[in-house]
């Protein structure tokens, strides 16, 4: 077990593009860190550099205090779980798991003992003599994990290990991975493009975009205090609603209406003017009829017609279309493209609100909606920065 330090680690590809740019991160011993971001953000490249499967163009990588830039993967003593599982098809489950131990020239008895032990942990004992071709997806995934844990490496690297599983199994395996990591206490770096996995699994989450770290923090921290538009839009499901806005005369003008600026916002916006983007999470809307008077004054109200109501049982998702210009920023386009919704036709902005289950709003109704102004975020569309965060947080990387 060991800590991993990435010090200004950079990866440049032959055509000059920077896949990863001055990546700084200190991963503590035993920590579970998630690298998350849309495809092409450099998260897998970063993982491969830690693994030693790709060269580090510049910067330094230290494992357990030792510089390992020039060490071959085999000399770094770390294990990796691949998205494709990469099980050796010509070997049985037992042989697959024994392979790293055999290469390490352990004795037969020791190999058998360790393989049996790992198989027990992952409930693979009954499958030890099968070939990978005769296993289900979930079983293959477990064998891949088994091959990683069997030699008690300094760290685990996982490259989207669950993305080839179907949805239900993925949720199950998520808890398996989580428990296993807690039990073994091995430093783990986990790459995913799924924000739910990032939120649920990691001690800390690193959000990447275009080869650069956007924000590092505990999941809740990222959710509540996103540094910028990208983080705000990437974390959360359904994702944050964005609308264009302007500020003048102490109030915020949006296509939903004019909202008064509270004390919190007014102090932050002292030196901000011009166009802004307002970001509101779905749960910060509520059916106005359900709001108690004591908290009603923290927010503002407006009216809109519900296009669609999805009852989830525990709560209701209500969809509105707001006419007028859409919020536009490079970050938002990138997020839309990643979600595959970049070219959905729509006139105006689509809003998602999460109402409590008691709400009586039906499709086609004109509903009166309350928005919690304490929780809204304002972003600068030119650079995406969250202007509502106070200095300490907006200055970014916190370890």
């Amino acid at each position: 077990m060991a800590d991993i330090v990435l010090d200004k680690v950079t990866k440049a590809f032959p055509d000059g593009t920077l896949a990863v740019q001055e990546f700084n991160l200190e991963i503590a011993d035993g920590e579970f860190v998630i690298l998350v971001g849309p495809s092409g953000c450099g998260k897998s490249t970063t993982l491969n550099m830690i693994a030693g499967l790709e060269d580090i163009s510049s910067g330094e990588l230290r494992i357990d205090g030792q510089r390992v830039n020039d060490k071959a993967p085999r000399d770094r003593d770390i294990a990796m779980v691949f998205q494709s599982y990469a099980l050796y098809p010509n070997m049985t489950v037992r042989e697959n798991m024994a392979f790293p131990l055999k290469l390490a020239k352990l004795s037969r008895e020791e190999i058998d003992r360790k393989v049996d032990e790992a198989a027990k942990v992952l409930e693979l004992t009954a499958l030890l003599d099968r070939k990978p071709a005769n296993l289900s997806g979930g079983q293959r995934q477990r064998v891949a994990m088994g091959r990683a844990i069997v030699r008690s490496p300094k760290a685990f690297l996982m490259d989207e290990p669950l993305s080839n599983l179907d949805a239900k199994l993925r949720v199950q395996m998520r808890t398996v991975v989580s428990r296993l990591q807690k039990r073994l206490g091995t430093t783990t770096v986990y790459v995913t493009h799924d924000q739910t996995e990032a939120m649920t699994l990691g001690d800390r989450v690193v959000i990447m975009r275009a080869g650069a770290i956007q924000q590092v923090g505990e999941p809740q921290e990222l959710y509540d205090h996103p540094n910028n538009l990208f983080v705000a839009g990437f974390i959360g499901s359904p994702s944050m609603n964005f609308l264009p806005a302007t500020v003048s005369d102490g109030s915020l003008h949006t296509s939903l209406g004019d909202f008064p600026l509270g004390e919190r916002l007014r102090s932050r916006l002292a030196d901000v003017s011009g166009d802004l983007i307002v970001g509101i999470r779905p749960e910060h809307f509520e059916d106005a009829s359900l709001i108690e008077d004591s908290i009603r004054q923290r927010g503002a109200e407006f009216e809109a017609t519900a296009d669609l109501v999805e009852s989830m049982g525990s709560d209701k998702y209500v969809y509105f279309t707001v006419e007028g210009e859409k919020a536009s920023a490079a970050e938002l386009e990138e997020l839309a493209a990643d979600a595959g919704s970049g070219d959905l036709p729509s006139s105006g902005s689509n809003l998602v609100c999460r109402f409590s289950a008691e709400s009586r709003v039906k499709e086609g109704d004109t509903a009166r909606i309350w928005v919690n102004l304490d929780k809204i975020h304002l972003f600068d569309p030119s650079n995406g920065r969250n202007v509502t965060l106070h200095e300490g947080r907006s200055s970014g990387v916190s370890a």
Partner: protein, 273 residues
Amino acid sequence: MTGAKWRWGFLDLVVIVFALIPVLWIASLSFKTPATITDGDFIPREWTLENYRNIFNTDQFVRALVNSIGIGLISTLVAVVLGTMAAYAIARLDFPGKKLLIGISLLIAMFPQVSLVSPLFEIERSIGLFDTWPGLILPYITFGLPLAIYTLSAFFRQIPWDLEKAAKMDGATQGEAFRRVIAPLAAPGVFTTAILVFIFCWNDFLFAISLTSTERSRTVPAALSFFQGASQFEDPTGAISAAAVIITIPIILFVLFFQRRIVSGLTSGAVKG
């Protein structure tokens, strides 16, 4: 359901009969005695091994068989080794000129072999390769290579190369990763390719009769057309048939044991190239 099965069974039977009749016929001829060989019966009335005994007693056939096997094996070995190297590069590496190489091998696969016969005849005569093993091996390698490159690069593309990374992470050196993980996966493809190339060499007739003039390097297909039987005045039909059966045996064995591989090799190589 059973009706459909009978229908398919009937169609299968038609195919099998269609495919086998010429082979069974030549086998039948090879077992006929000189007296009954011209009786036109599909099944011999009198069975004999005389024809086989005769051809194995002639230097003409034995020598040709040795030539066929030797030339075929050497050509296959060289073509597969060179082809494996090139196919690995095509499947795994990025380098300028890759497209060109694919283009050249495609051109050669379609090249009219007879166009090479006249210049090769003259060139080989002037440098002393005419009527030698290398004189046949060279063109066989050349025409075997495109086949090998196509089939192998299709095979190599199917290998999950993540495994190489996984092996490295598991503590293997580059050499160990290749020997213990990649090689066992690549072996079936290489083997299948070797069979296809060998069949090609084994089959060739045009180069074999054009670039040889004596028993020194004449292969069986070419020798067959010079067959006169045990003595000059004997009808060569029985001898030809027996020799034909002998050189068909390896083909039948390949097909019986490696049907699946040959099918996948031919289809992946030719269509997905």
